[in-house]
């Protein structure tokens, strides 16, 4: 493979060498089962505790026991929503979420509607992807038991007003879950200050390993476990623990905290340069999501008219650039991304979306290369589009 320019850090990230180093001993040397009482087991158990404390610190939880390790960010979302909903069925069966949540949240809510008789309100968003707090308040009913709104959107980078949502939820004694999978490593997360009850994380988005996630569960929050079996994770998530994976998550969390200020500054600069340059050099393009502080530092999202996303990606790939799109062809369904459609875009426009997402390792030179090559790719595709008259 010749030189690659990776601009899809929101999809997944490479494992940081330091993280790999931290994990390595736990594959062969320190391979014990943490439930075992002999040396190998106790060693593994201690490693879990350390990792738990590092994840705790990343989100400033009060106690490391508030962290449940899971097998993915998706599982954390499923556990939070099903677990809280089923635990609170005695109080009501209404859930509030938004239309731009990740499928791990949306499809979980739909599962509860379809199979367990819950009712779900899907809040609309404005053209920048923000929910309206007044609409949220109006959607609250006496039987509302859970609000789940993501901290930051994976496609368009919109940051929701989490503190205010937590406050509103608290006033009505409603649990508040937030999917912070994309926010972690990009923003400071402080569960005590924000007052959320449940928060999902995923290791592979912050240069940690794939196949490990975590759910923060504030002390006292009722949660019905969704994985039955052994007594692991204080009986809240059965399964022999993925020790190397969890150790890697801990290390990745530690690095994420350390690197945040510098990374943030760098990526905001790159982000704004990409946005400015593209809006300047390419016609008939739309920026998806807000500008400034309400946008994730590492996310850029455009819709280019008259062309289709997969074709953009394949052309970029041929040039060594990896990026993503919410076009139907890449979403695994017939429709383009539900996030794009929620912004009020037509199908045609939504098909032409391109997400550029950056990470810790992104360099100026990579951004240069992207900006040099993107305009001609767009033009090439427009030239072969029957919709483009230019």
């Amino acid at each position: 493979m010749s030189k690659r320019y990776y601009f899809d850090h929101a999809a997944t990230t490479t494992l940081d060498p330091e993280v790999f180093q931290a994990m390595e001993p736990f594959f062969q040397d320190k391979f014990g089962n943490p439930s075992s009482i002999y040396q190998e087991g106790q060693q593994a158990e201690r490693a879990l505790t350390e990792a738990r404390e590092k994840v705790q610190q990343m989100i400033n939880a009060a106690d490391s026991r508030e962290i449940i390790f899971t097998g993915s960010g998706t599982e954390a979302d499923n556990l939070a929503i099903k677990g809280a909903a089923m635990a609170r069925m005695d109080r009501g069966n209404h859930i509030i979420t938004s239309k731009t949540e990740h499928h791990a949240v949306l499809h979980t809510c739909e599962f509860l509607e379809k199979h367990l008789d819950f009712e779900v309100t899907y809040l609309p968003v404005d053209e920048e992807g923000l929910i309206d707090l007044q609409e949220l308040e109006e959607a609250i009913r006496p039987d509302t038991i859970l609000i789940t709104i993501m901290t930051a959107n994976n496609e368009i980078g919109t940051i929701q007003p989490i503190f205010r949502i937590a406050e509103i939820a608290g006033e009505h004694d409603i649990y508040f879950h937030t999917d912070a999978v994309q926010a972690a490593g990009q923003l400071e997360i402080d569960v005590q200050q924000s007052g959320v009850d449940l928060l999902s994380l995923s290791a592979h988005k912050i240069n940690g390993p794939k196949g490990v996630g975590a759910l923060y569960v504030k002390k006292g929050t009722r949660l019905l476990p969704q994985m039955q079996g052994g007594a692991q994770e204080r009986k809240r998530r059965a399964s022999t623990e993925n020790v190397p994976g969890i150790v890697g998550f801990g290390k990745a969390a530690e690095l994420a905290v350390k690197r945040l200020p510098e990374k943030r500054q760098k990526l905001i600069k790159f982000r704004d340069r990409i946005i400015d340059t593209v809006l300047d050099e390419i016609s008939e393009v739309r920026l998806n999501g807000p500008r400034g502080d309400q946008r994730l530092p590492n996310n850029v999202s455009f819709c280019f008219r008259y062309i289709e996303g997969e074709s953009i990606l394949l052309n970029l790939d041929m040039l060594g650039i990896a990026a993503s799109s919410g076009s139907a062809c890449t979403s695994g369904s017939l429709d383009p991304s539900h996030v794009m459609l929620s912004l009020g875009l037509s199908h045609e426009v939504a098909h032409g979306s391109l997400r550029i997402s950056m990470g810790y390792s992104t360099t100026e030179e990579e951004v240069d290369y992207l900006l040099e090559n993107l305009p001609s790719v767009i033009q090439k595709l427009r030239d072969m589009s029957p919709l483009y008259e230019g």
């Binding site: 289709e308 062809c329 045609e348 029957p386 919709l387």
Partner: protein, 139 residues
């Protein structure tokens, strides 16, 4: 995901572009689905496709199948061109991913639409004639 042949046709599409003064055009698909294929034909007096161009809004498969179809029908009599099927196109490209067989393999239909227009004495460029464009239905 895509065969080398598909990627070759995507990377270097044959007969791509818009034709200045075609004898007839055909079109299929719609932007909502994310796939539109338009073909421009020059047809000789003895009903041979003398020249062909295409323009496509769509994914890799849509571009590659368009390119392949133009290769398959160029120089052929209309009746033979009408026989070109989606399966033939996919086969000539060493196969397509299952999800792409239906949605993005529309180029043969565009040819049929063009020929049908031609035989009805239309150019396919008349405004507001619904028959000019074949919308693409999802089953």
């Amino acid at each position: 995901m895509y065969s080398d042949k598909v990627m070759d046709h995507f990377q270097c599409p044959r007969n791509v572009g818009k034709m200045k003064d075609p004898d007839v055009v055909g079109e299929v698909g719609n932007p909502t689905c994310g796939d539109i294929i338009r073909v421009y034909l020059k047809i000789s007096d003895d009903e041979i496709i003398d020249d062909i161009k295409f323009s496509t809004f769509g994914c890799g498969a849509a571009v590659a199948t368009s390119s392949m179809v133009t290769e398959l029908v160029k120089g052929k009599p209309l009746d033979e061109a009408l026989q070109v099927s989606k399966d033939q196109v996919a086969e000539a490209l060493d196969g397509l991913p299952p999800a792409k067989m239906h949605c993005s393999n529309l180029a043969a239909d565009a040819i049929k639409n063009a020929i049908s227009n031609y035989r009805q004495g239309k150019t396919g460029l008349e405004k507001d004639d619904p028959e000019n464009k074949v919308p693409h239905e999802h089953h």
